[in-house]
């Protein structure tokens, strides 16, 4: 309830924020919606000496279309994504993911950037980012760089962002016509984070054959991962129930499933398969298959 003492900074530009970050280094934490960081500070699991609030930094929030992709500012809230007409038109699964994060209060404060930077192993966004093939735009003292999502989630709550960088935006490609995507999760009964969450995206050709698949699993392991075995099993196939079922069997491969109060490794691996099946089935339906 009572965090340790800290200094509060509210820069108004990325440049100022980066300068502060460079000066204060490890003793500082960036503050976005605060819905992961502040609870950790209240439990004194995190005790940063300084908070650099990104709220007043210009240019970090908003949703733009750019060359067949959506560019979403890091400070864009879950709710803004859930409610965005652009999102619903171009990458509707993002609105679906946003809409089942926490509750309205959480969605009005929490941000996309905060979530993917925090990389909570049970967060929802990572599965969608991985399945859709997003890119993360970071800005540091030496300028901007782009990190592919496959290189982003490094381990338990660690990402490729460097200590002197800020994640400024997330670029999510809009998949071509004939595509569909779905996110389904088994919510934790207390926190509503994902015990297991699976995001699936498919593109079907005119014959109904899957030409591209993106499937990713969150919740079950220490970090969200792509289910590459599932993707391979889907690609090139006509996605009837049997094909989906067979592909979904591979959903837990490559996931370092962790046992906890919610379930054994066996049970969670089973949930990965069930939710892969359900998410793929829905994605195929949405793709017009």
């Amino acid at each position: 309830m009572y965090p340790a003492a800290f200094e509060y900074h509210a820069p108004t530009s990325v440049k100022d924020a980066l300068r502060l970050l460079g000066k204060l280094k490890d003793d500082a934490k960036l503050l976005a919606g605060g819905h992961s960081l502040i609870p950790m500070m209240k439990l004194r699991l995190a005790q940063p000496g300084h908070l650099i609030d990104l709220k007043k930094v210009k240019g970090l929030s908003g949703i733009k279309e750019e060359k067949g992709a959506l560019v979403i500012g890091a400070m864009t809230t879950h709710w803004e994504i859930e409610a965005s007409k652009t999102v619903k038109a171009k990458v509707p699964v993002l609105a679906e993911v946003a809409g089942i994060i926490g509750d309205p209060a959480v969605r009005n404060k929490g941000t996309l950037g905060g979530s993917v930077a925090h990389a909570d192993p049970a967060a929802d966004w990572p599965a969608a980012m991985l399945a859709l093939g997003a890119e993360m735009v970071c800005e540091g003292p030496k300028g901007k760089r782009t990190v592919k999502v496959d290189d982003w989630f490094v381990g338990l709550m660690t990402t490729a962002v460097k200590g002197n960088e800020i994640l400024t935006a997330v670029r999510v490609p809009a998949w071509p016509a004939g595509s569909g995507a779905a996110y389904m999760k088994f919510p934790h009964p207390a926190s509503r984070f994902a015990v297991v969450g699976v995001c699936a995206a498919v593109t079907l050709d005119k014959q109904g054959v899957c030409t591209r698949a993106g499937v990713a699993v969150t919740g079950a392991g220490t970090k969200a991962v792509r289910a590459k075995g599932v993707e391979a099993a889907l690609t090139g196939k006509t996605l009837d129930a049997a094909a989906i079922e067979a592909a979904a069997q591979k959903a837990a491969q490559g996931v370092d499933v962790q046992a906890d109060l919610q379930g054994s490794v066996e049970y969670k691996a089973h949930l990965c398969r069930v939710f892969a099946k359900r998410a793929i089935t829905e994605a195929v339906k949405r793709a017009g298959g």
């Binding site: 088994f186 207390a190 109060l261 919610q262 949930l271």
Partner: protein
């Protein structure tokens, strides 16, 4: 029963307390602001069981803002008392701050007082405690095993008491001649209460007068004062005032006297400055008294007609590391005597081992003992129906106690004599509202298509309104269980009512005012209800066990009787009529036969205070005090039906429909009773499906935050269908029985039975609570193999 006209009794009047709550104007303990306030934080044990080698507070004391650090060495006060004794009970000393040893995670070791809550917390983090860890044990049954870690040298095998009720020989005989015996081991898991307002206290000591004032989140401020002044702090009760202002829920957890309020009071006196402590949610998980935690073996005997002939129960009740204020009562007299339920059971024998373990103390939690008994009975009756191939409704009907509504009580073989009851109509109504026959057809059709619906029943009894004081005393109570009331009429006729009951969500300010306004024939606006301050109200026992309406309300009615009696004498005097010839109606006394000759309530009240013209020898004034001691408990009952759908692929349960038909006697305010029932159902469903205070084998608490401990949420609950039958209680003047806990008691078994019913095609006959998806999936997977 009161023979007054009832304009307000039975009306769904909106709660008068709500405007201040919903506009954020409530005044809770944490809202108390005093000049010179300081703040406390506690250093708590991270170990389930350890010896304290050294406490080093030097660094903490040097931190800015830190005023003092006290440990059990400095704070020499009495231990926290246990208020209920059982035969041959062994009561461990429970220090306010640990003495030499810690016995559960969260046990307070030291208190840090500082200028701000932040500094206090910094100070608590800076106190270095060296522990020597000892092996711990968290499970009540394992604690009994040879070689289990010992909490106290003087309490061998960790057994605090062994208690029995019923006739063993008769029960054994019933089993010897039974046509069918149904056995069921079951666990009633540990729950952690979570009132929306965490516990809090503010203590202020006035050195000039020696007066100690304690604001504390208490369901029973006088009990807090008595126990703290007489047993812990050793000061006269006259020197201590306890105020329990607006309180945001208790569910039992705020009955008890805890370490924190004692330590804070002592610190306030020692430092000479007021001290405030408000629990962090995590502290609530660690140190508020928990609920339930039974491991039980039960068996039920039946004759050839499916009539119950006997019940045998063996329970290990986990009491935690120390005895909380009423801990021994819950798994004994609030448990064993409930084991007859609504059924005619000729022979019952129950034995309970009260066990000490390295876990937080366990005490009364909404329902307290009665949910444990009801879950056991309703689960085993359902299991028996399966075994006997009878519809669960039919088996229940066959065994109901026949109606008894004429004032003749029904004597069970386990001490209780029920006041009144008529069980079949409630079940009939519940089945009707649930569309039982139709639901069974849908269930059968669904099973063909792989859809798994389950229908669960629970027909329950509840014991409310503790208790006749002499009975309570003979069973080990350290207090009488009557209630006080005081009614003061003001000269212009408005009325202040002081009650020993305490409202922390129950709505007394509304229901009690309805009763008073009716009885005096005045508007509710003329009635003010005061509770929660030992300096204002007569000694009272507080609120728990659904006792406020039946015991506290009755005390108020007794006061009103006395007031009306005096008023009548004054009116008769003014009207120059005989008292016997007066009628009291619509707030006026009139002469029977000549209704124009009358004196209004206000005129009589004024004259009582003017005293210009009152009967000779009569004292002026108009007020009365009453101490009402009930002659029996009251016994609400009812029937609940739950319909669930189980996704057998994941094990997830969806509650589709919930029907509750309760009989709580006469109903003062149906909206408030509905609210009680709704909240109670949510809590009971929580126990059936989600909530579980999980300790690792050695006593580490694994579910110590809201991220891990799953409270019921609105999206997991359907819109309930509620109805009532009304069987008035013959034992109190209002005919009320009590409605505070019925929902919690009835709903856990209804939902559990529904889930097990859904799993019938897989041969599942029982699973322990909570019925988590993983457990269900495992059971289904095992059946499929």
């Amino acid at each position: 029963m009161a023979v007054t006209e009832e304009r307000l009794f039975g009306k769904a009047i909106k709660r008068r307390e709500d405007p201040r709550f919903i506009t954020g104007r409530g005044q809770y303990v944490d809202d108390v602001k005093l000049p010179g306030m300081t703040y406390a934080a506690f250093v708590r044990s991270p170990h389930p069981h350890a010896r304290i080698k050294k406490v080093d507070a030097a660094a903490a004391k040097k931190l800015p803002g830190v005023l003092a650090v006290y440990t059990g060495v400095e704070m020499q006060v009495g231990g926290l008392p246990c208020g209920w004794m059982l035969p041959d009970i062994r009561v461990p000393v429970r220090p306010v701050l640990a003495q030499g040893k810690v016995r559960y995670v969260g046990e307070p070791v030291a208190i840090v007082v500082a200028e701000t809550p932040f500094a206090a917390k910094d100070g608590a983090e800076a106190v270095r405690v060296q522990y020597e860890a000892l092996p711990g044990v968290a499970d009540g049954k394992k604690a009994h095993a040879p070689g289990a870690p010992q909490l106290f040298d003087e309490i061998a095998t960790n057994q605090c008491f062994h208690w029995t009720i019923g006739d063993k020989a008769a029960a054994d005989a019933a089993f010897a001649s039974a046509a069918t015996v149904v056995s069921q081991p079951l666990v009633n898991q540990r729950l952690i209460p979570n009132a929306i307002e965490p516990r809090a206290c503010v203590a202020s000591f006035a050195p000039a007068t020696g007066d100690l004032t304690l604001w504390v989140t208490s369901q029973n401020p006088h009990v807090h004062r008595l126990l703290m002044a007489a047993f812990v702090l050793a000061i006269p009760e006259t020197k201590m005032r306890v105020i329990s202002p607006d309180v945001g829920g208790g569910f039992g957890s705020k009955i008890f006297v805890y370490n924190e309020e004692v330590a804070v009071s002592w610190a306030a006196k020692t430092l000479g400055r007021p001290v405030k402590w408000t629990a962090e949610r995590r502290e609530s998980f660690l140190n508020d008294a928990h609920g339930r935690d039974h491991v039980t073996e039960a068996e039920m005997a039946f004759d050839r007609e499916g009539k119950i002939t006997g019940l045998r129960v063996k329970t290990h009740a986990n009491l935690g590391a120390y005895l909380s204020t009423f801990a021994p009562l819950i798994p004994s007299y609030l448990y064993g005597p409930l084991l007859s339920g609504v059924y005619k059971i000729p022979a019952i024998f129950c034995e309970v081992w009260g066990m000490l373990t390295n876990t937080a103390p366990v005490d009364a939690y909404r329902g307290a003992g009665r949910p444990e008994a009801t879950y056991l009975l309703e689960r085993i009756v359902d299991r028996a129906a399966r075994q006997l191939r009878l519809d669960p409704a039919e088996l229940r009907r066959r065994n109901f106690i026949p109606p008894f509504t004429d004032g003749t009580p029904y004597q069970t073989p386990v001490a209780f004599a029920y006041d009144s009851g008529d069980y079949e109509p409630a079940l009939r109504r519940a089945l009707e509202l649930a569309g039982y026959e139709q639901a069974r057809r849908e269930q059968a059709a669904g099973r063909q298509k792989g859809r798994h619906l389950g229908i669960g029943l629970s027909t329950y009894i509840e014991a409310c309104g503790p208790a006749p004081s002499a009975v309570a005393g003979s069973l080990g109570a350290g207090a009488g269980l009557w209630e006080s009331g005081q009614v003061r009429v003001h000269p212009a006729g408005s009325v202040t009512v002081y009650t020993g009951s305490h409202s922390h969500g129950q709505g007394h300010e509304t229901t009690f005012a309805q009763v008073v306004a009716d009885q005096l024939g005045i508007p509710m606006e003329q009635v003010e209800i005061v509770h929660g301050d030992t300096a204002q109200i007569p000694f009272g026992m507080g609120t728990y066990g659904s006792r406020s309406a039946c015991v506290g309300g009755s005390a108020i009615v007794r006061c009103l009787d006395k007031i009306k009696e005096k008023g009548r004498r004054i009116a008769a005097h003014l009207l120059e009529a005989s008292e016997q010839d007066l009628d009291f109606k619509d707030g006026a006394w009139s002469v029977r036969g000549s209704p124009d000759r009358k004196k209004a309530w206000g005129e009589v009240a004024l004259m009582a205070y003017l005293a210009h013209n009152i009967p000779q020898g009569m004292e002026p004034g108009l007020e009365a005090t009453s101490f009402y001691d009930p002659v029996n408990f009251t016994f609400p009952f009812g029937a609940h039906v739950a319909i669930v759908e189980v996704d057998v692929e994941t094990g997830a349960v969806k509650l589709l429909k919930y029907v509750a038909v309760d009989d709580v006697g006469r109903v003062i305010n149906p909206m408030i009773v509905d609210g009680m029932v709704h909240g109670g159902i949510a809590q009971g469903v929580g126990q059936a499906l989600w909530e579980h205070g999980v300790y690792a084998d050695d006593g580490q608490l694994l579910s110590a935050t809201m991220l891990d401990y799953a409270m019921p949420k609105a999206d997991g609950l359907p819109s309930y269908t509620t109805d009532r039958t009304v069987t008035p209680s013959p034992i109190n003047p209002l005919g009320v029985k009590g409605a505070g806990e019925t929902g919690t008691i009835a709903s856990t078994p209804a939902v559990a039975n529904a889930v097990i019913d859904a799993l019938a095609p897989f041969g599942v006959v029982h699973l322990d609570l909570p019925l988590t998806p993983q457990k269900i999936w495992k059971a289904v997977a095992a059946a499929k193999r």
